[in-house]
Amino acid sequence: MVQSINHNANTGPLPDFRNFGILLRIVLIVNGIALLAALLQVPTVRAWPAQFTENAALVEPLLILSLLVLAVVGDLLRRLPYAMAISAIVLIELGLTAALHFATKDLFFVDAHSLPRWLLIVALTTGMLLVYFDLRGRALSPALAEARLQALQARIRPHFLFNSINAVLSLVRQEPRRAEAALEDLAGLFRALMADNSQLTPISREIELCRQYLDLEQLRLGERLRVEWHIENMPPDALVPLLALQPLLENAVYHGIEPAETPGVVSITIHVARDRLHVVLRNPYRVTGDHHVGNKMALANIRERLQLHFDVAAELTTQIGENTFEVRMVMPYLKAE
């Protein structure tokens, strides 16, 4: 089950038609073809711009309409097997061409017999674009994506590592047993950080890691750090990318608890709503001039990993309230076997 989920959940070769980059590529390529076609149509270079304008008048409405339709049905298409999705796209394009042709016939005085020619042009252009996106998808994944995933996970904050080791050292003489437990936590955390984590993992495992992490922080910060778990309604079998939550907690402690003179609460709420897993994390936050890039890096890192696993179906948003900072992670609820 896990295997097949991964297969489907990974970025498929089907482009995401709501992605700005993809849209831009389509617009540029189609206009590039129109430009080239114009050059082929005219006898002299001087007539080229005029011909391009004429071509654009025919191409642009279809292009815009296609992008709108694909953006709307993109999610549906994604669920189909690749071959079927491709055929569906070609059919949609042909249908739109025909519809546009009949709708604008009176407007533009287009020759009624030109329809087959246009259908052929559109089919070929669509096919070309799809081949291009397929090749591009292959180039980007999965080997490259996996390598990147591992590099991303390597970024644990040295601040945390060295402070924790220092805290453990302080225990060695007086409380050797607590020192042992702390070292075990540290080992557990680093085992997870260094393992091959390109797979999804049950959220209960991630929570365990988070608790190990928080125990270590509690050692250093004592009363200053209070943690509230609201996970009564969390399905323990939900799948998440490993280390999706722990870095967020690290952020919360680093930016919310450590700089505060008074004790603060980090709260974690996890639940499922409408087949989506919601993870909400809140921590106290005081607006100061002290803006570290570390925060944004960790968020971008997790956002990227969510994208690699779930593409557009997952999102990570942040909200700065009066005295709180909130991170909300939403992803599809996938069950472990």
Partner: protein, 252 residues
Amino acid sequence: MTSIPRRVLIVDDEAPARSRMRDLLADVNAGLPVVVAGEAANGRDALQIAETGGVDVALLDVRMPGMDGIELARHLQQLQSPPAVIFTTAYDAYAIQAFELHVVDYLLKPIKASRLQEALSRVVQTPVLNPETLRSMQQAPRACLSVGERGRVHLIPVEEILYLRAELKYITVRTAVREYLIEESLTQLEQEFAERFVRIHRNCLVARAAIRGFERVGAESGEGPWQVVLAGLEERIPVSRRQQHIVRELAR
């Protein structure tokens, strides 16, 4: 080696880090006489201990809530005989870079006893920290300004300051309660606290949050220059001709 023990102040917001430092100092004591003069979890407590005059060396953690180690070092310089300062940090790329640049003593946590002993034996020769150096190392705006008064350090929380006015050599710091004189540059203060203060005159910065309104001097004619009304202060501060646009921007 000298037989008079060095009196060391430990400043760190994390209890385990302080306890580790205590253990280390006990280890060092065999080779170099040291005594713990005190322990503080924050800058204010540290200043209070240092004011007693019984501190030769202060071991300051860089990253602390409220007042960081570098700010604390700046306030310590207001003492008549400030202690030597050694910074400690687990990892702070910016701070380490700054320490290296200015050849300021620092120790990386976890600290080795031998390294600590080496640093402590060296402090006698280290020159007193230069205020300019400390200023350039400060990343975030300070929580307080400070004045040395008869061997004590008086902290002025920045949020209590109503205005800062440059006069000749000094800067007058006005709070609702009283005035202080500090030796700093108004331009540097303006840069450091850009979000909190606004310049209304060539020689004056006022706290944005304290502004209650603006008045014209000749109330009858209504043509005179503008003055700022500040919360809890009878005194009116003139707005210079050049800064008149501030009145429109701030008085909504």
